[in-house]
């Protein structure tokens, strides 16, 4: 087990290396791919180092990153504050669901991005427009998965809890919410993924800082290397954030990461 794991990691790293070599070979001077369309890896790296210190369109790279993170985490967090309790409550009290769900269903099929023009008209191009779009994007997975988490609690467990003398409140707090935790962790990741992706688009459309803003400017200025730096940063930050959420599952819901028995 341990050995095959090391082998896997080694193979994974090897594959990454192989692709970087292929990339370098394709974009070498006089190579088949012109660097205007796709810059060489060393150019991208040099640009990355440079942007870390020197401002590009107004801010250094860390500042752009912070600007993006601020918006995405605010929108995502606010959506969690609304989505989790509302989702659980809607699953638990069906009357509430009957009242709220139709409205929600009406809004849900609209891609979160389609709200951008509206929020810009209503709130201007400041942070609040982007935060509210991110909020809408994150709310759907938070709410739907919180509901699903409650529904997927085995009815037998509720029966068992009742025969052991638990009342409704105790069942909700101890059985439903705890059993639902792994699903909520998954919801958190999904919500963050949606939020992050929506934020990038929002920044492309209306922002004064942030990675999406860097990307769209780089594209207009034909700074392909900057564009790639921005894209990589967007990808890496996304991975880091979802990875961190994944780690919380270990201590939030240790039972769910044990690996199922095969019998």
């Amino acid at each position: 087990m341990g050995q095959s794991r090391t082998l896997q990691v080694a193979a994974g790293l090897g594959a990454i290396l192989a692709w970087i070599i292929i990339w370098a070979w394709l974009t070498r001077p006089g190579g088949p791919v012109p660097t205007l369309y796709f810059p060489a890896p060393d150019d991208v790296w040099a640009k990355f180092v440079r942007m870390w210190q020197r401002p590009y369109i107004g801010s250094t790279l860390p500042d752009h990153i912070l600007a993006s993170l601020y918006i995405v985490l605010t929108g995502w967090g606010l959506a969690a504050l609304v989505g989790i309790p509302l989702g659980i409550a809607m699953a638990w009290w069906k009357r509430l669901k009957w009242i709220v769900f139709p409205t929600f269903q009406l809004i849900r099929p609209v891609p979160p991005l389609a709200w951008i023009p509206l929020t810009i008209l209503w709130l201007g191009i400041g942070d609040s427009a982007r935060i509210s779009v991110v909020f809408i994007a994150a709310l759907v997975p938070w709410l739907m998965n919180s509901m699903l988490a409650v529904y997927s609690v085995d009815r037998l467990l509720l029966d068992a809890a009742r025969t052991l003398g638990a009342n409704d409140r105790q069942i909700l707090a101890r059985v439903v919410c705890r059993t639902a935790l792994p699903t909520l962790v998954a919801a958190a990741r999904m919500a963050l993924g949606n939020a992050w992706s929506t934020l990038v688009a929002a920044e492309i459309l209306a922002a004064t800082a942030g990675l999406g803003y860097v990307a769209v400017n780089a594209s207009q200025l034909l700074d392909t290397d900057v564009l790639l730096v921005a894209m990589f940063m967007i990808g890496i930050l996304g991975i880091c954030m979802t990875g961190l959420i994944g780690l919380t599952q270990n201590w939030l819901a240790p039972w769910s990461v044990l690996g199922a028995r095969r019998d």
């Binding site: 594959a15 099929p109 709200w115 008209l121 688009a201 492309i204 459309l205 034909l222 967007i234």
Partner: protein
């Protein structure tokens, strides 16, 4: 997809009551909207148009060309771009996903590229696509592709990986070659999961398309919304948003309904 699962769990009972509550709450909402706009003008029409204005705008866009095209024209352009993106994603994604599960080395090698597509949000590809293809159909199709591709790969892979080993072993015992095992046993068993992947991909692609159209292009529904913002015409934005939402629901419903014809053996299961 989630709703289907909810339904299977028997949550969607009490239909009548649910509908009554729903109609009530939606009516309240509509009444509030009418009060706030037409009746008492709490909110300026510039900020929130009245239902009547939105309907009028709808009629206008259907009958009169808006930026050169009537509403159906914009819809067709959007659908075309979306179709190309999803189609390529399916043609490439299903084989890739199946082989990811079938051959670990293939997966190890291609994984870095896949993760790049998976983890960089589709919208981050918009500037690159613009740079590569300019304002052509390919730009939007590429964004749709990036949005649709990962879901297809992941679900195809999952479907194949989840095929219980006993089926494969059973096929082996009966002397089937790996390729025939793949075609006869694995793919049919994985098909529901692949189908789920396609469904997710189709709706992801639709979402991404709107984003792409907001940024580039001179036609399409996303462009219409962007144009509404430009002209500070909230009614136009509403028309666009409603059309996009309805089309999204329509497409999803069609795909969902078609499952029983495409995968007849699933009919028993659900």
């Amino acid at each position: 997809m989630i709703e289907r699962r909810l339904e299977r769990m028997g949550v969607m009972t009490d239909r009548g009551k649910a509908a009554a509550y729903g109609i009530f709450s939606l009516s309240v909402l509509l009444a509030l909207w009418i009060c706030a706009t037409s009746l008492f003008q709490w909110i300026e029409p510039r900020v929130l148009p009245s239902p009547a204005q939105v309907i009028r705008q709808f009629a206008w866009i259907i009958t009169e060309p808006f930026s050169g095209l009537r509403l159906p024209g914009h819809i067709l352009f959007s659908l075309e771009r979306w179709g190309w993106g999803v189609l390529t994603a399916g043609l490439v994604g299903i084989p890739v996903g199946v082989f990811f599960a079938w051959n670990p080395w293939f997966k190890t090698f291609l994984n870095p590229v896949f993760e790049l597509i998976h983890f960089i949000p589709p919208f981050a590809y918009i500037p690159l696509a613009v740079l590569w293809f300019g304002a052509s159909t390919a730009t939007q199709a590429m964004v749709v592709f990036v949005a649709a591709f990962p879901a297809i790969v992941i679900n195809s892979q999952l479907g194949v990986a989840q095929v219980q080993k006993i089926y494969i072993d059973a096929a082996r015992v009966f002397g089937a070659s790996p390729f025939r095992t793949l075609c006869r046993v694995v793919l049919p068993a994985a098909a529901p999961s692949i189908y789920t992947g396609l469904r997710i991909a189709i709706s992801n692609g639709w979402m991404a398309l709107v984003g792409a159209e907001l940024v580039v292009g001179k036609v399409g529904l996303g462009f219409m919304i962007a144009q509404g913002q430009e002209n500070a015409s909230v009614a136009t934005i509403f028309v666009g948003v409603i059309t996009i939402g309805c089309l999204g629901v329509l497409i999803d419903t069609l795909v969902q309904r078609s499952e029983r014809y495409v995968l007849p053996w699933r009919r028993v299961a659900s």
